[in-house]
């Protein structure tokens, strides 16, 4: 009898410990989730339904393996702009889809910045094939800046295919990130001056290519197939 009583007490104690441990884990998880949610801007979402929708979207994205920081950033943007909660939820869902597509197109990149830049390019109308093309040119080097430049060029009015081709050519020619960004800067100057975006890009890209392709040559060497083009 005593033994059974002891055993019952031990089992009860174990159950209590188990329950306590479970509660503690749940609490810890809840605290971590709340911390992430707070930093993600969830606190700014007062609508419980919208908050639940957002949390579900974030969980789905997490399960898909896409980076979550861009989603949190979109939530914070929505809160800062005092957007409708349902609209924020829609924006997060759309972004999650683009992040998934971008991750796959960039050969399962692990860089959050790179994937976010790819998603930004997709939003601007750059096709998925463009992301794959750029990845093939720079399989290891980060595409964060080139993707940003392509996005910028498309936003200026350059057809996505043309923007992708020109940026890809410059990347193949050894252009640096700084040179790609400056190309985009000059295209916008030309557009602001009244020029057509696609014409401006072609002209500026040829100039960039000519400078990248300049061969050191002495005046005494026989003239060869020079690729120096006036700009």
């Amino acid at each position: 009898m005593i033994a059974r009583s002891i055993i019952r007490r031990v089992h009860a104690a174990r159950r209590t410990i188990s329950v306590s441990l479970a509660l503690a884990c749940t609490l810890a998880t809840t605290v971590r989730a709340q911390t992430r949610a707070a930093s993600a801007g969830f606190d700014g979402i007062t609508d419980a339904r919208a908050r639940a929708t957002l949390q579900a979207a974030v969980r789905n994205a997490d399960e898909s393996g896409v980076p979550l920081e861009p989603l949190y950033s979109k939530i914070r943007e929505g809160v800062a702009k005092q957007s409708d909660p349902d609209r924020i939820a829609d924006a997060v869902r759309q972004l999650s889809v683009r992040l998934t597509i971008a991750k796959e197109a960039l050969a399962n990149s692990r860089s959050s910045d790179e994937i976010a830049a790819g998603a930004g390019a997709l939003q601007a109308g750059v096709p998925t094939s463009a992301l794959r093309q750029l990845r093939r040119v720079w399989p290891v080097q980060s595409l964060t800046v080139p993707l940003g430049v392509v996005t910028e060029l498309v936003a200026y009015g350059v057809p996505a295919a043309q923007a992708t081709v020109r940026v890809r050519e410059l990347m193949q020619g050894g252009a640096s990130n700084a040179q790609l960004v400056e190309l985009s800067t000059h295209v916008q100057r030309d557009v602001a001056s009244g020029g057509a975006a696609s014409t401006a890009l072609d002209r500026r890209a040829r100039g960039a290519m000519s400078i990248l392709a300049v061969q050191p040559r002495s005046a005494l060497t026989p003239p060869g197939p020079a690729r120096f083009r006036p700009q």
């Binding site: 939003q123 640096s176 100039g207 400078i211 006036p230």
Partner: protein, 385 residues
């Protein structure tokens, strides 16, 4: 748009200065070591470039020479793939500034057809010289093609030349088998080059054979490399054999050269300004104006990129900026007496930026391109290299 050859200021300028040493040995056994220096300056407009160059070679004996020349490249009207290349030079043989050893002038013109990955050209050159009391005439015709794939390029050139310069030809073991007015030869040159991020290398091989009354043959190979130490400085090495250049009057010889090259590209008007290699100069990177006063700039401070804002608003207004660079936490700008300003460090990559005044709707600062934000509005895009 009417065809304009030159207009206003050049859009790009470039200066290249090279100094080095060469060692040349001819078949006759004579050899010379010399110091050389060359300078080239060019200016480019939208459809033309002009360049001038000078080369000085100074040897211990009477092997000195100085060469001066000018060249031009012209794009054909409405045909960007067609480029006309021209060049004229004068060479004085003898101590610097004198023509005690003779003088020569030469000129050539080439018509190029250039596309993205390949091109072709054909041209002709002519030369006249006075050397050791002899009047020398030479001319040449060439045609070739090139192709590139990524960093690799290949080219092939076929050339037919003639000259009556017996000193030049006999020094290269070429003779006339019967009375004739000139030596005739034909050449085939193949070149392969690779441009890397910091190293360029090339290899060329040429074969020369005789035509008509001319007797003799030769071949030459050259290897060259350039190391781009910094965006402006590079070291170049070449070694190999060069065939006698009938148009320029250069003898056939084994040549080794080493040189240090400095190159500068300066800014002009509204022209293309690509920074050298990976270097971005301070205060040169800025968001372009869209006609309205620019409100957002990208600047460099101690090699760290910064978003600089300058918003016109009443002194008492609360002007705020938010974006991906600060987790969309609105940050107030400070009033400097004229504008509301801020300097914010930004990391590499694309950033979204929005500003607002006195709690009004967020908007895109002037100077940045607009993109939809999926929230029914827009934000500006800033790409940081």
């Amino acid at each position: 748009m009417p065809y304009q050859l030159l207009s206003a200021q050049p859009v790009t300028r470039d200066v290249i200065v090279e100094a080095g040493a060469l060692d040349a040995r001819q078949r006759t056994g004579s050899s010379a070591s010399a110091a050389m220096m060359s300078a080239l300056a060019s200016a480019s407009w939208q459809r033309a470039t002009l360049e001038g160059f000078a080369v000085l070679v100074s040897a211990a004996e009477n092997g000195s020479a100085s060469q001066f020349g000018a060249g031009a490249n012209l794009l054909m009207p409405r045909l960007d793939a067609a480029r006309l290349e021209t060049n004229a030079s004068a060479t004085l043989f003898g101590p610097l500034g004198s023509a005690s050893g003779g003088r020569q002038w030469s000129a050539f013109a080439r018509q190029h057809l250039e596309f993205r990955r390949w091109g072709a050209f054909a041209g002709a050159g002519v030369a006249r010289a006075t050397r050791a009391g002899e009047r020398v005439r030479a001319h040449a015709f060439d045609a070739g093609a090139w192709a590139n794939s990524g960093r690799l390029s290949v080219s092939a050139v076929a050339q037919r030349s003639m000259t009556n310069d017996f000193q030049l030809m006999e020094a290269a073991d070429y003779y006339l088998s019967r009375p004739a007015r000139a030596y005739h030869v034909q050449d085939l040159t193949l070149q392969v080059a690779h441009q890397g991020a910091r190293f360029d290398i090339y290899a060329a091989q040429a074969w020369r054979s005789s035509l008509g009354a001319t007797f003799g043959s030769s071949r030459a190979g050259t290897l060259g490399a350039a190391w781009h130490v910094t965006p402006n400085w590079s070291v170049a090495l070449t070694a190999g054999t060069q065939l006698a250049d009938l148009v320029r009057g250069l003898p056939e010889s084994r040549v080794r050269t080493v040189s240090l090259r400095w190159q500068r590209a300066s800014r002009g008007g509204r022209g293309l300004t690509i920074p050298m290699r990976d270097q971005v100069r301070a205060a040169d990177v800025a968001a372009p104006s869209t006609g309205a006063e620019r409100e957002a700039y990208l600047t460099q401070s101690n090699d760290a990129p910064q978003l600089q804002l300058r918003i016109s608003a009443p002194a008492h207004a609360l002007v705020e900026v938010a974006g991906t660079f600060n987790d969309w936490q609105p940050v107030a700008l400070t009033f400097d007496g004229r504008h509301h300003v801020a300097r914010i460090p930004v990391s590499r990559g694309p950033h979204r930026v929005s500003v607002r005044v006195d709690g009004s709707a967020w908007r895109v600062p002037a100077g940045l391109v607009r993109l939809q934000d999926d929230l029914g509005g827009e934000s500006g895009l800033l790409v940081v290299p």
